[in-house]
Symmetry: C2
Subunit: 100 residues, 2 copies
């Protein structure tokens, strides 16, 4: 069953556009990772600094591989400059029927 | 473009199963609402009390209709007994390319 991940990101004031660009630049490489099904950036409505990544992976192994990939390491370094605090990464197991 | 919603829910100790059942019972009715695309419950890995709803709607109007539906009002009342704190409902706008 698909494994979902929700990551809550808060940028420093004014760093939203740079975050959006960093994610856009790496997104296709992330989706090319085996078992990465979704890597979608969202912005909290009415916020300039609060973002949420909605991600999905086929397996825990796929999530682990993502987390140790060169792209992820590089992205984490880049985001370190842009975020006001470390991201909250929430790994989720589905409960009951699922649409995706 | 699809509107995603992430709702963070923390139950009182031992109320997880009751929350899971309450969501399971109402899920098909929620998905029957016009423009409701996803209504999926997740549990935070290694947690007995932390849950996340991942929802998706075609439009803001669809989300509003969901929020004022009889099912939502009834569910909110039922969850009031089970949650340790009010849910954090995060309405999201997509940024850049999206998978879903």
């Amino acid at each position: 069953m698909t494994l979902n991940v929700v990551a809550l990101l808060t940028t420093k004031p004014g760093s939203g556009p740079a975050l959006e660009q960093a994610i856009a630049e790496v997104r296709s490489a992330m989706l090319a990772h085996d078992g990465c099904l979704r890597y979608d950036l969202q912005r909290r409505r009415k916020s300039e600094t609060e973002y949420v990544m909605i991600e999905a992976y086929e397996t825990t192994d796929a999530l682990r591989a993502h987390g140790s990939s060169d792209e992820f390491v590089a992205l984490s370094a880049a985001l370190g400059e842009l975020l006001a605090a470390p991201p909250e990464v929430i790994v989720l197991d589905p409960v009951g029927d699922q649409t995706a």
